[in-house]
Symmetry: none
Subunit: 117 residues, 4 copies
DNA sequence: GTGGTCTAGACCACC
DNA sequence: GTGGTCTAGACCACA
Protein backbone atom coordinates (compact mmCIF):
# COMPACT_ATOMS: atom_id res chain seq x y z
CA UNK A 1 0.00 0.00 0.00
CA UNK A 2 1.14 3.50 -0.82
CA UNK A 3 0.69 6.28 1.65
CA UNK A 4 -0.08 9.94 1.44
CA UNK A 5 2.70 12.25 2.43
CA UNK A 6 1.40 14.25 5.31
CA UNK A 7 -1.27 12.17 7.01
CA UNK A 8 -0.09 9.61 9.57
CA UNK A 9 -0.01 6.11 8.19
CA UNK A 10 -2.03 4.67 11.06
CA UNK A 11 -4.88 7.07 10.27
CA UNK A 12 -4.73 6.30 6.57
CA UNK A 13 -5.12 2.64 7.42
CA UNK A 14 -8.03 3.48 9.72
CA UNK A 15 -9.64 5.32 6.82
CA UNK A 16 -9.47 2.37 4.48
CA UNK A 17 -10.93 0.14 7.17
CA UNK A 18 -13.80 2.56 7.67
CA UNK A 19 -14.35 2.55 3.94
CA UNK A 20 -14.56 -1.22 3.92
CA UNK A 21 -17.15 -1.06 6.67
CA UNK A 22 -19.18 1.65 4.95
CA UNK A 23 -19.18 -0.28 1.70
CA UNK A 24 -20.15 -3.38 3.67
CA UNK A 25 -17.19 -5.31 2.42
CA UNK A 26 -16.53 -5.92 6.09
CA UNK A 27 -19.68 -6.62 8.13
CA UNK A 28 -20.61 -6.28 11.84
CA UNK A 29 -19.34 -8.97 14.18
CA UNK A 30 -16.87 -10.09 11.50
CA UNK A 31 -13.30 -10.73 12.57
CA UNK A 32 -10.69 -8.50 10.99
CA UNK A 33 -7.07 -9.47 10.26
CA UNK A 34 -4.68 -9.75 13.15
CA UNK A 35 -2.18 -7.01 13.78
CA UNK A 36 0.60 -9.13 12.36
CA UNK A 37 -1.31 -10.29 9.31
CA UNK A 38 -2.32 -6.81 8.33
CA UNK A 39 1.18 -5.57 9.00
CA UNK A 40 2.67 -8.04 6.57
CA UNK A 41 -0.12 -7.42 4.08
CA UNK A 42 0.46 -3.68 3.98
CA UNK A 43 4.22 -3.78 4.44
CA UNK A 44 3.96 -1.82 7.65
CA UNK A 45 5.31 -2.18 11.15
CA UNK A 46 2.87 -4.09 13.43
CA UNK A 47 3.13 -1.24 15.95
CA UNK A 48 1.54 1.01 13.37
CA UNK A 49 -1.38 -1.39 12.89
CA UNK A 50 -1.72 -1.65 16.65
CA UNK A 51 -2.10 2.06 16.76
CA UNK A 52 -4.80 1.96 14.10
CA UNK A 53 -6.73 -0.66 16.04
CA UNK A 54 -6.35 1.26 19.28
CA UNK A 55 -7.75 4.29 17.59
CA UNK A 56 -10.68 2.43 16.02
CA UNK A 57 -11.44 0.69 19.29
CA UNK A 58 -11.54 3.95 21.19
CA UNK A 59 -13.97 5.19 18.56
CA UNK A 60 -16.23 2.15 19.12
CA UNK A 61 -15.78 1.00 15.57
CA UNK A 62 -14.04 -2.26 16.42
CA UNK A 63 -13.76 -4.24 19.62
CA UNK A 64 -11.38 -6.82 20.98
CA UNK A 65 -11.93 -10.32 22.30
CA UNK A 66 -8.89 -11.11 24.36
CA UNK A 67 -6.79 -13.83 22.82
CA UNK A 68 -9.11 -14.09 19.83
CA UNK A 69 -8.80 -10.96 17.79
CA UNK A 70 -10.51 -7.78 16.71
CA UNK A 71 -14.08 -7.57 15.42
CA UNK A 72 -16.30 -5.02 13.73
CA UNK A 73 -18.76 -3.46 16.18
CA UNK A 74 -22.46 -3.98 15.66
CA UNK A 75 -23.12 -0.28 15.07
CA UNK A 76 -19.85 0.48 13.35
CA UNK A 77 -21.42 1.82 10.19
CA UNK A 78 -23.80 4.21 11.94
CA UNK A 79 -21.04 5.40 14.23
CA UNK A 80 -18.76 6.19 11.32
CA UNK A 81 -21.42 7.96 9.35
CA UNK A 82 -22.64 10.11 12.22
CA UNK A 83 -19.15 11.28 13.07
CA UNK A 84 -17.83 11.75 9.58
CA UNK A 85 -20.94 13.23 7.99
CA UNK A 86 -21.11 16.03 10.50
CA UNK A 87 -17.42 16.77 10.24
CA UNK A 88 -17.52 16.64 6.48
CA UNK A 89 -20.39 19.07 6.06
CA UNK A 90 -19.38 21.49 8.76
CA UNK A 91 -15.64 21.62 8.31
CA UNK A 92 -14.50 20.26 5.02
CA UNK A 93 -17.18 21.24 2.57
CA UNK A 94 -16.85 24.99 3.14
CA UNK A 95 -13.12 24.77 2.55
CA UNK A 96 -13.63 22.74 -0.59
CA UNK A 97 -16.14 25.20 -2.01
CA UNK A 98 -13.89 28.13 -1.24
CA UNK A 99 -10.94 26.51 -2.98
CA UNK A 100 -13.04 25.65 -5.99
CA UNK A 101 -13.99 29.28 -6.32
CA UNK A 102 -10.37 30.44 -6.11
CA UNK A 103 -9.40 27.88 -8.72
CA UNK A 104 -12.30 28.80 -10.96
CA UNK A 105 -14.05 25.46 -10.82
CA UNK A 106 -17.81 25.75 -11.01
CA UNK A 107 -19.52 23.43 -8.51
CA UNK A 108 -21.95 22.33 -11.18
CA UNK A 109 -19.06 20.90 -13.16
CA UNK A 110 -18.58 18.62 -10.23
CA UNK A 111 -21.79 16.78 -10.96
CA UNK A 112 -20.65 16.24 -14.52
CA UNK A 113 -17.33 14.82 -13.41
CA UNK A 114 -19.19 12.62 -10.96
CA UNK A 115 -21.34 11.09 -13.70
CA UNK A 116 -18.30 10.31 -15.78
CA UNK A 117 -17.00 7.89 -13.20
CA UNK B 1 -1.36 35.08 12.45
CA UNK B 2 -2.78 31.90 13.88
CA UNK B 3 -1.69 28.54 12.64
CA UNK B 4 -3.35 25.23 12.20
CA UNK B 5 -1.87 22.51 14.34
CA UNK B 6 -1.00 19.78 11.95
CA UNK B 7 0.21 21.49 8.81
CA UNK B 8 3.71 22.98 8.99
CA UNK B 9 3.74 26.72 9.47
CA UNK B 10 5.99 27.34 6.51
CA UNK B 11 3.47 25.68 4.20
CA UNK B 12 0.56 27.54 5.73
CA UNK B 13 2.38 30.78 5.02
CA UNK B 14 3.00 29.60 1.48
CA UNK B 15 -0.72 28.95 1.14
CA UNK B 16 -1.71 32.41 2.26
CA UNK B 17 0.79 33.91 -0.15
CA UNK B 18 -0.67 31.87 -2.98
CA UNK B 19 -4.11 33.07 -1.98
CA UNK B 20 -2.94 36.67 -2.12
CA UNK B 21 -1.60 36.06 -5.61
CA UNK B 22 -4.76 34.33 -6.75
CA UNK B 23 -6.91 37.18 -5.43
CA UNK B 24 -4.51 39.64 -7.09
CA UNK B 25 -3.80 41.40 -3.86
CA UNK B 26 -0.15 40.75 -4.77
CA UNK B 27 0.68 41.23 -8.43
CA UNK B 28 3.39 39.93 -10.79
CA UNK B 29 6.82 41.58 -10.57
CA UNK B 30 5.83 43.08 -7.22
CA UNK B 31 8.30 42.79 -4.39
CA UNK B 32 7.13 40.82 -1.39
CA UNK B 33 8.21 41.51 2.21
CA UNK B 34 11.75 40.62 3.17
CA UNK B 35 12.36 37.50 5.17
CA UNK B 36 12.84 39.53 8.32
CA UNK B 37 9.89 41.85 7.79
CA UNK B 38 7.45 39.04 7.24
CA UNK B 39 8.93 37.19 10.18
CA UNK B 40 8.20 40.07 12.50
CA UNK B 41 4.79 40.63 10.93
CA UNK B 42 3.68 37.05 11.48
CA UNK B 43 5.50 36.51 14.74
CA UNK B 44 7.58 33.78 13.20
CA UNK B 45 11.29 33.08 12.94
CA UNK B 46 12.96 34.41 9.77
CA UNK B 47 14.28 30.93 9.05
CA UNK B 48 10.73 29.70 8.76
CA UNK B 49 9.89 32.43 6.27
CA UNK B 50 13.08 31.57 4.39
CA UNK B 51 11.80 28.06 4.09
CA UNK B 52 8.50 29.29 2.71
CA UNK B 53 10.30 31.42 0.14
CA UNK B 54 12.58 28.53 -0.78
CA UNK B 55 9.57 26.39 -1.40
CA UNK B 56 7.74 29.00 -3.44
CA UNK B 57 10.83 29.74 -5.49
CA UNK B 58 11.33 26.09 -6.33
CA UNK B 59 7.72 26.10 -7.50
CA UNK B 60 8.39 29.09 -9.81
CA UNK B 61 5.92 31.23 -7.95
CA UNK B 62 8.41 33.80 -6.70
CA UNK B 63 11.94 34.64 -7.75
CA UNK B 64 14.90 36.33 -6.16
CA UNK B 65 16.94 39.35 -7.12
CA UNK B 66 20.14 39.00 -5.19
CA UNK B 67 20.62 41.53 -2.49
CA UNK B 68 17.28 43.07 -3.33
CA UNK B 69 14.53 40.70 -2.33
CA UNK B 70 11.87 38.31 -3.56
CA UNK B 71 9.38 39.10 -6.29
CA UNK B 72 6.19 37.55 -7.62
CA UNK B 73 6.84 35.69 -10.87
CA UNK B 74 5.16 36.91 -14.03
CA UNK B 75 3.16 33.72 -14.44
CA UNK B 76 2.66 33.04 -10.74
CA UNK B 77 -1.12 32.98 -10.92
CA UNK B 78 -1.26 30.63 -13.87
CA UNK B 79 1.31 28.38 -12.27
CA UNK B 80 -0.59 28.17 -9.01
CA UNK B 81 -3.90 27.51 -10.68
CA UNK B 82 -2.59 24.87 -13.03
CA UNK B 83 -0.80 23.00 -10.28
CA UNK B 84 -3.58 23.20 -7.74
CA UNK B 85 -6.40 22.60 -10.20
CA UNK B 86 -4.70 19.51 -11.52
CA UNK B 87 -4.05 18.21 -8.04
CA UNK B 88 -7.58 18.99 -6.95
CA UNK B 89 -9.31 17.31 -9.85
CA UNK B 90 -7.01 14.33 -10.12
CA UNK B 91 -6.38 13.54 -6.49
CA UNK B 92 -8.80 15.20 -4.17
CA UNK B 93 -12.06 15.27 -6.05
CA UNK B 94 -12.28 11.50 -6.55
CA UNK B 95 -11.71 10.99 -2.84
CA UNK B 96 -14.32 13.58 -1.97
CA UNK B 97 -16.92 12.10 -4.26
CA UNK B 98 -16.20 8.62 -2.99
CA UNK B 99 -16.57 9.75 0.59
CA UNK B 100 -19.79 11.55 -0.18
CA UNK B 101 -21.21 8.39 -1.65
CA UNK B 102 -20.11 6.29 1.31
CA UNK B 103 -21.60 8.84 3.71
CA UNK B 104 -24.80 9.02 1.72
CA UNK B 105 -24.51 12.64 0.67
CA UNK B 106 -25.92 13.36 -2.76
CA UNK B 107 -23.54 15.54 -4.79
CA UNK B 108 -26.46 17.69 -5.88
CA UNK B 109 -26.91 18.82 -2.29
CA UNK B 110 -23.57 20.44 -2.71
CA UNK B 111 -24.99 23.05 -5.07
CA UNK B 112 -27.68 23.84 -2.57
CA UNK B 113 -25.18 24.33 0.24
CA UNK B 114 -23.07 26.46 -2.07
CA UNK B 115 -25.95 28.84 -2.74
CA UNK B 116 -26.61 29.27 0.95
CA UNK B 117 -23.23 30.90 1.47
CA UNK C 1 35.37 15.86 6.63
CA UNK C 2 36.82 19.06 5.27
CA UNK C 3 34.75 21.50 3.36
CA UNK C 4 35.42 23.85 0.54
CA UNK C 5 34.93 27.46 1.43
CA UNK C 6 32.51 28.79 -1.10
CA UNK C 7 30.10 25.97 -1.78
CA UNK C 8 27.49 25.33 0.91
CA UNK C 9 28.29 22.37 3.12
CA UNK C 10 24.95 20.71 2.55
CA UNK C 11 25.60 20.63 -1.20
CA UNK C 12 29.12 19.33 -0.76
CA UNK C 13 27.71 16.48 1.29
CA UNK C 14 25.13 15.85 -1.41
CA UNK C 15 27.96 15.68 -3.93
CA UNK C 16 29.91 13.11 -1.97
CA UNK C 17 26.78 11.01 -1.59
CA UNK C 18 26.19 11.16 -5.33
CA UNK C 19 29.77 10.08 -5.85
CA UNK C 20 29.26 7.11 -3.54
CA UNK C 21 26.23 6.13 -5.57
CA UNK C 22 28.02 6.56 -8.90
CA UNK C 23 30.92 4.44 -7.70
CA UNK C 24 28.42 1.90 -6.36
CA UNK C 25 29.79 2.09 -2.87
CA UNK C 26 26.17 2.75 -1.91
CA UNK C 27 23.62 0.67 -3.79
CA UNK C 28 19.93 1.02 -4.63
CA UNK C 29 17.43 0.27 -1.86
CA UNK C 30 20.23 0.45 0.68
CA UNK C 31 19.60 2.47 3.80
CA UNK C 32 21.86 5.47 4.30
CA UNK C 33 22.97 6.79 7.69
CA UNK C 34 20.37 8.57 9.80
CA UNK C 35 20.45 12.33 9.96
CA UNK C 36 22.04 12.20 13.40
CA UNK C 37 24.55 9.50 12.62
CA UNK C 38 25.89 11.26 9.57
CA UNK C 39 25.90 14.53 11.47
CA UNK C 40 28.18 13.07 14.12
CA UNK C 41 30.27 11.31 11.50
CA UNK C 42 30.96 14.47 9.54
CA UNK C 43 31.07 16.81 12.50
CA UNK C 44 28.10 18.72 11.18
CA UNK C 45 24.78 19.76 12.62
CA UNK C 46 21.91 17.32 11.95
CA UNK C 47 19.90 20.15 10.44
CA UNK C 48 22.51 20.53 7.75
CA UNK C 49 22.31 16.83 6.93
CA UNK C 50 18.54 17.13 6.89
CA UNK C 51 18.91 19.80 4.27
CA UNK C 52 21.13 17.56 2.18
CA UNK C 53 18.60 14.75 2.39
CA UNK C 54 15.77 17.13 1.55
CA UNK C 55 17.63 18.20 -1.53
CA UNK C 56 18.48 14.67 -2.62
CA UNK C 57 14.93 13.51 -2.05
CA UNK C 58 13.52 16.30 -4.16
CA UNK C 59 15.91 15.15 -6.88
CA UNK C 60 14.59 11.57 -6.65
CA UNK C 61 17.96 10.27 -5.60
CA UNK C 62 16.93 9.07 -2.18
CA UNK C 63 13.55 8.37 -0.62
CA UNK C 64 12.18 8.15 2.86
CA UNK C 65 10.41 5.40 4.75
CA UNK C 66 8.71 7.16 7.58
CA UNK C 67 10.10 6.40 10.96
CA UNK C 68 12.70 4.14 9.41
CA UNK C 69 15.16 6.24 7.47
CA UNK C 70 16.36 7.27 4.05
CA UNK C 71 17.16 4.87 1.23
CA UNK C 72 18.88 5.06 -2.14
CA UNK C 73 16.34 5.16 -4.95
CA UNK C 74 16.26 2.32 -7.42
CA UNK C 75 17.22 4.54 -10.33
CA UNK C 76 19.49 6.85 -8.38
CA UNK C 77 22.53 6.25 -10.51
CA UNK C 78 20.75 6.80 -13.80
CA UNK C 79 19.10 9.91 -12.42
CA UNK C 80 22.38 11.39 -11.29
CA UNK C 81 24.16 10.62 -14.50
CA UNK C 82 21.43 11.94 -16.75
CA UNK C 83 21.07 15.16 -14.79
CA UNK C 84 24.79 15.80 -14.42
CA UNK C 85 25.73 14.67 -17.89
CA UNK C 86 23.15 16.95 -19.42
CA UNK C 87 24.24 19.86 -17.31
CA UNK C 88 27.88 19.18 -18.03
CA UNK C 89 27.55 18.93 -21.77
CA UNK C 90 25.04 21.71 -22.22
CA UNK C 91 26.30 24.26 -19.75
CA UNK C 92 29.81 23.60 -18.60
CA UNK C 93 31.54 22.11 -21.58
CA UNK C 94 30.91 25.07 -23.91
CA UNK C 95 32.30 27.41 -21.27
CA UNK C 96 35.33 25.22 -20.76
CA UNK C 97 36.08 24.97 -24.45
CA UNK C 98 35.62 28.69 -24.91
CA UNK C 99 38.00 29.43 -22.06
CA UNK C 100 40.56 27.01 -23.38
CA UNK C 101 40.49 28.79 -26.69
CA UNK C 102 40.80 32.21 -25.10
CA UNK C 103 43.69 30.96 -22.97
CA UNK C 104 45.34 29.36 -25.95
CA UNK C 105 45.12 25.78 -24.73
CA UNK C 106 44.61 23.29 -27.49
CA UNK C 107 41.87 20.78 -26.60
CA UNK C 108 44.06 17.94 -27.82
CA UNK C 109 46.51 18.68 -25.01
CA UNK C 110 43.73 17.56 -22.74
CA UNK C 111 44.08 13.99 -23.85
CA UNK C 112 47.76 14.12 -23.13
CA UNK C 113 47.21 15.47 -19.63
CA UNK C 114 44.58 12.84 -19.07
CA UNK C 115 46.97 10.04 -19.87
CA UNK C 116 49.53 11.38 -17.43
CA UNK C 117 47.20 10.77 -14.50
CA UNK D 1 22.38 40.06 -18.54
CA UNK D 2 21.55 36.82 -16.79
CA UNK D 3 23.63 35.57 -13.94
CA UNK D 4 24.69 32.21 -12.69
CA UNK D 5 23.25 31.13 -9.39
CA UNK D 6 26.15 30.63 -7.10
CA UNK D 7 28.97 32.83 -8.34
CA UNK D 8 28.96 36.46 -7.20
CA UNK D 9 27.64 38.80 -9.84
CA UNK D 10 30.62 41.12 -9.61
CA UNK D 11 32.95 38.23 -10.50
CA UNK D 12 30.78 37.10 -13.36
CA UNK D 13 30.98 40.61 -14.78
CA UNK D 14 34.74 40.57 -14.30
CA UNK D 15 34.85 37.32 -16.26
CA UNK D 16 33.01 38.73 -19.23
CA UNK D 17 35.32 41.74 -19.23
CA UNK D 18 38.36 39.47 -19.21
CA UNK D 19 36.84 37.57 -22.10
CA UNK D 20 36.45 40.77 -24.07
CA UNK D 21 40.09 41.57 -23.43
CA UNK D 22 41.29 38.10 -24.39
CA UNK D 23 39.29 38.17 -27.59
CA UNK D 24 40.67 41.66 -28.22
CA UNK D 25 37.23 43.13 -28.48
CA UNK D 26 38.53 45.56 -25.89
CA UNK D 27 42.13 46.68 -26.44
CA UNK D 28 44.90 48.05 -24.21
CA UNK D 29 44.66 51.72 -23.26
CA UNK D 30 41.02 51.74 -24.36
CA UNK D 31 38.49 53.35 -22.06
CA UNK D 32 35.82 51.05 -20.70
CA UNK D 33 32.27 52.09 -19.78
CA UNK D 34 31.75 54.12 -16.64
CA UNK D 35 30.40 52.46 -13.54
CA UNK D 36 27.00 54.00 -14.12
CA UNK D 37 26.84 53.23 -17.81
CA UNK D 38 27.68 49.59 -17.32
CA UNK D 39 25.30 49.39 -14.39
CA UNK D 40 22.41 50.55 -16.51
CA UNK D 41 23.51 48.36 -19.40
CA UNK D 42 23.55 45.20 -17.32
CA UNK D 43 20.63 46.08 -15.07
CA UNK D 44 22.84 45.94 -12.04
CA UNK D 45 23.50 48.18 -9.08
CA UNK D 46 26.45 50.56 -9.70
CA UNK D 47 27.99 49.38 -6.44
CA UNK D 48 28.31 45.95 -7.95
CA UNK D 49 30.12 47.33 -11.00
CA UNK D 50 32.35 49.33 -8.70
CA UNK D 51 33.30 46.14 -6.99
CA UNK D 52 34.13 44.52 -10.30
CA UNK D 53 36.35 47.44 -11.26
CA UNK D 54 38.03 47.41 -7.85
CA UNK D 55 38.78 43.77 -8.30
CA UNK D 56 40.11 44.15 -11.84
CA UNK D 57 42.21 47.13 -10.83
CA UNK D 58 43.80 45.26 -7.94
CA UNK D 59 44.63 42.53 -10.45
CA UNK D 60 46.36 45.06 -12.75
CA UNK D 61 43.92 44.38 -15.53
CA UNK D 62 42.43 47.85 -15.64
CA UNK D 63 43.58 51.18 -14.24
CA UNK D 64 41.90 54.40 -13.31
CA UNK D 65 42.51 57.97 -14.41
CA UNK D 66 40.93 60.13 -11.77
CA UNK D 67 37.96 62.04 -13.09
CA UNK D 68 38.28 60.44 -16.50
CA UNK D 69 37.43 56.79 -16.22
CA UNK D 70 38.78 53.27 -16.29
CA UNK D 71 41.11 51.92 -18.95
CA UNK D 72 42.48 48.58 -20.04
CA UNK D 73 46.06 48.05 -18.85
CA UNK D 74 48.79 47.68 -21.44
CA UNK D 75 49.60 44.11 -20.37
CA UNK D 76 46.08 43.10 -19.46
CA UNK D 77 45.94 40.17 -21.82
CA UNK D 78 49.22 38.61 -20.69
CA UNK D 79 48.27 39.15 -17.07
CA UNK D 80 44.96 37.39 -17.50
CA UNK D 81 46.42 34.51 -19.41
CA UNK D 82 49.25 33.87 -17.01
CA UNK D 83 46.96 33.85 -13.99
CA UNK D 84 44.08 31.92 -15.49
CA UNK D 85 46.07 29.41 -17.49
CA UNK D 86 47.94 28.23 -14.45
CA UNK D 87 44.82 28.02 -12.34
CA UNK D 88 42.91 26.28 -15.07
CA UNK D 89 45.45 23.56 -15.68
CA UNK D 90 46.39 22.96 -12.07
CA UNK D 91 43.04 23.20 -10.35
CA UNK D 92 40.15 22.93 -12.71
CA UNK D 93 41.26 20.49 -15.33
CA UNK D 94 41.84 17.58 -12.93
CA UNK D 95 38.38 18.07 -11.48
CA UNK D 96 36.85 18.18 -14.93
CA UNK D 97 38.58 15.00 -16.03
CA UNK D 98 37.55 13.21 -12.87
CA UNK D 99 33.93 14.19 -13.35
CA UNK D 100 33.97 13.12 -16.96
CA UNK D 101 35.15 9.71 -15.89
CA UNK D 102 32.41 9.36 -13.29
CA UNK D 103 29.83 10.42 -15.85
CA UNK D 104 31.24 8.09 -18.46
CA UNK D 105 32.24 10.75 -20.94
CA UNK D 106 35.33 9.86 -22.90
CA UNK D 107 37.74 12.80 -23.20
CA UNK D 108 38.19 12.07 -26.88
CA UNK D 109 34.50 12.76 -27.45
CA UNK D 110 35.33 16.23 -26.28
CA UNK D 111 37.34 16.93 -29.37
CA UNK D 112 34.44 15.83 -31.51
CA UNK D 113 32.03 18.11 -29.70
CA UNK D 114 34.54 20.89 -30.06
CA UNK D 115 34.68 20.54 -33.81
CA UNK D 116 30.92 20.68 -34.07
CA UNK D 117 30.82 24.22 -32.76
C1' DG E 1 19.87 46.60 3.57
C1' DT E 2 19.17 41.76 1.38
C1' DG E 3 19.31 36.57 1.39
C1' DG E 4 21.89 32.24 2.73
C1' DT E 5 24.03 29.04 5.67
C1' DC E 6 25.04 26.99 9.87
C1' DT E 7 24.82 25.76 14.81
C1' DA E 8 22.61 24.46 19.03
C1' DG E 9 18.96 22.92 21.13
C1' DA E 10 14.28 21.88 21.73
C1' DC E 11 9.85 19.51 20.90
C1' DC E 12 6.84 16.62 18.39
C1' DA E 13 4.63 12.90 15.84
C1' DC E 14 5.38 8.67 14.07
C1' DC E 15 7.30 3.78 13.40
C1' DG F 1 14.68 4.79 17.25
C1' DT F 2 13.39 7.77 12.99
C1' DG F 3 12.51 12.31 10.51
C1' DG F 4 10.42 17.06 10.67
C1' DT F 5 9.67 21.57 12.27
C1' DC F 6 10.72 25.55 14.73
C1' DT F 7 13.33 28.97 17.43
C1' DA F 8 17.19 31.81 18.59
C1' DG F 9 21.12 33.60 17.39
C1' DA F 10 25.21 34.10 14.81
C1' DC F 11 28.08 35.05 10.75
C1' DC F 12 28.88 35.97 6.01
C1' DA F 13 28.80 37.55 1.26
C1' DC F 14 26.55 40.37 -1.73
C1' DA F 15 23.95 44.62 -3.66
Amino acid sequence: MEFNEHKPIYLQIADTICDKILSEEWKPEERIPSVRELGVLLGVNPNTIMRTYDYLQSSDIIFNKRGVGYFISKDAKTTIISVQKHKFIQEELPKILKRMKLLGINPSELLKIDKDN
